[in-house]
Chain length 412, copies 2
């Protein structure tokens, strides 16, 4: 008998028929002799409606405590409806809100962090042979206030609960059927990975692959609970996210990702002495804008260029701030470009193979693609290029590293 | 400084504009130097939508525990939105679900009874100078399960909380502006009562006047908390429901009510010996049908007629059961009539004035209205008549007892 945590997103529970469908899958898993915990999101569209109401009554920045009280009703609806649907199939089920499932968090409303999970009630429910249906995304703070974990927090709820219960697996049901070596809409030869290491998944998630939330991968990695990403509409195996030693294929590069949601800002002729970077980046991060890549050119004549990327939605605001700061840091010019793409290759295999970055640059050069920025880590290389070359670059790198690279060891 | 509990129903919080309107009233009351607790229902239409979803997924009789988890989200939405709207007006407010406000109930889901209210958190909130916004209709059982008090339970939540907090008044805001001597849509001379005794209000509520839930009046009566029924759209005083000694006007009859939602069943030629009534009424009440009036005629030749009324929606079912039972009790015939009206006069003043019933019958006879059934209590007389005479009877009795009777003592 295994203990299985399943998580279904908003699309999978988007209407009564889909909820009934989820109920059937849950019951099938239960009837195979497993203990089952199901974690659900709000029905698709529901959260947006609630957020809209919040803005109508609470303005641009509604009170955070009350915002959590409001949006947590979305998941509460789904758990009750799913439990009812399971009852209709003749099985015992019990729903749990964040408070009821012992999902203790800090008091940082709208983006609370899980502090401790008391799964006494959940265990008792499972021991009675009932299915536990838990609300994703929500918790309770030490004073009994309702909290939420922030957007996409349902993945985190499911994985954290799987860790607390020492579950055998956490299955994440979604509208894609696994993790691919590249976006299959762009690269027709992209293939589904059987398994991928936590560390690789973390990089891919942070690079824009939207299959799993970063926080949920971190939880699973820390506690060693395998995640199985699979389709809510098919019964095929999906992709296992697991420890490096449990990954069956040994690829140099597991995935090639692209991200079209960044923009680039270049500040020219900055005085090259200590404290300058802080004067430029502090006001930007104070404005809540997340800076991704930062590259500083070699200095000549005591001046340097500084280039960085920000989310495209924050581009205008970041450009204004950079312009405002330019006087103080002695910059000669500030220029920006929204038409960029960030292309990355990710793989644990890179650690053992020198020259992967060089091979990446050569591949792009062979296609006549100019590289604007480079950023590397132990297991990934990212480059910024002109947006119009994004698909070409993705296909070329996929062919080089995944289609060919999987068959033969990468050249040293 | 007074402690005021205000309750707003679903229509009063039916859309964002109305919620803002309620926020303004609440803030005005707070700014006059009062401590304020606001109890709200779900936005109008919301509960029906949730009930519809429950039936789609849980069938005719959805699991009661999960039903409560589902429908309680309606009020949870409203408390968060109202608290946000109050914040927008620059005042502190905090929302409370059933669990958070310490509304402890038994475990009888969908119709739980309040067992104890722990108002520690609410008091602390009020002592900080903040406004407490509480969800009507919901509570928590000893195991931490969400419960609901049944339809209309928000009145009960508000009044029970007012009692627990020893509030100075519980204001019930509704779409009528008070308690009238008769339904003003029927009797144009009906007038709003300044005050009415708990006992009278209880009779009126049980006779079909829909201003207040019976349970809430019982609570207020037990703890001596005055209820002030008033309009959410006007600022005029409404009607005070209070102790007899605090009622300012001394009327023989405070209200004339009519109820068109009952039907009559007559079982003829029943054997007149002990146990017969039980054999007839037990199966009817076992079917969950509430019997209102029961009248047994004088026996002749060892047989008797038994007549009773049931809610019109249950008429067909009750008639079937009565027919099925008729053999066993030796009845010669079962007949029914849906086209009836129950007309009642209610007033504490009746206790001191003999002849009120006789005067009622005379008034009806003068209009040529035949009385089919009579039922009396200390402070009310009800009669069943043909439905088509309902309005005529109401106006005649109102003229006799309220318009004239208020000015002069009733004849002995």
């Amino acid at each position: 008998m295994a203990l299985i945590v399943q998580k279904y997103g908003g699309t999978s529970v988007g209407d009564p028929d889909r909820i009934r469908n989820v109920a059937r899958r849950v019951v099938a898993t239960h009837d195979e002799g497993n203990q089952v915990v199901v974690c659900v999101s709000a029905m698709s569209g529901e959260t947006n409606q609630l957020v809209d109401l919040a803005q109508q009554l609470g303005g641009e920045r509604p009170d955070a405590r009350e915002y959590d009280v409001l949006v947590s009703t979305g998941e509460q609806k789904t758990i009750a409806l799913l439990a009812m649907a399971i009852h209709q199939l003749g099985r015992e089920a019990r729903s749990f809100t964040g408070a009821q499932m012992g999902m203790n968090t800090d008091s940082d409303h709208t983006r609370a962090r899980i502090t401790e999970i008391d799964c006494t009630r959940l265990r008792a429910t499972l021991d009675e042979g009932a299915i536990a249906v838990i609300a994703g995304f929500q918790g309770i703070d030490p004073e009994g206030n309702i909290t939420t974990l922030g957007r996409g927090g349902s993945d985190t709820s499911a994985v954290a609960m799987a860790c607390a219960l020492e579950a055998d697996v956490c299955e994440i049901y979604t509208d894609v059927d696994g993790v691919y070596t590249a976006d299959p809409r762009v690269v027709s030869d992209a293939r589904k990975l059987h398994s991928v290491a936590y560390e690789e998944m973390l990089e891919m998630a942070s690079l824009g692959a939207k299959v799993l939330q970063i926080r949920s991968v971190k939880f699973a990695m820390r506690y060693g609970v395998p995640i199985h990403v699979r389709s809510s509409f098919k019964s095929d195996e999906g992709t296992w996210v697991t420890r490096e030693e449990d990954v069956m294929e040994r690829l140099v590069v597991s995935g090639v990702t692209h991200n079209l949601n960044e923009a680039k800002i270049r500040v020219k002729g900055v005085e090259d002495h200590p404290g300058i970077a802080g004067k430029l980046f502090k006001p930007i991060s104070d404005a809540g804008i997340q800076i991704d890549m930062i590259v500083q050119n070699l200095s000549s004549d005591g001046a340097t260029d500084m280039t960085f990327t920000v989310p495209r939605g924050e581009y205008k605001k970041a450009l204004e701030i950079a312009n405002a700061a330019s006087g103080e840091i002695g910059a000669t010019e500030v220029e920006g470009d929204e038409a960029i793409a960030k292309i990355s290759i990710v793989g644990l295999g890179m650690q053992d193979h020198a020259g992967v970055a060089a091979r990446m640059f050569t591949t792009l050069a062979d296609e006549g693609i100019n590289i604007q920025l480079i950023s590397t880590s132990e297991i990934k290389v990212s480059v910024v290029i002109e947006e119009k070359y994004a698909e070409l670059a993705l296909r070329a790198l996929h062919a080089e590293f995944v289609e060919d690279g999987a068959a033969e060891p990468a050249p040293e």
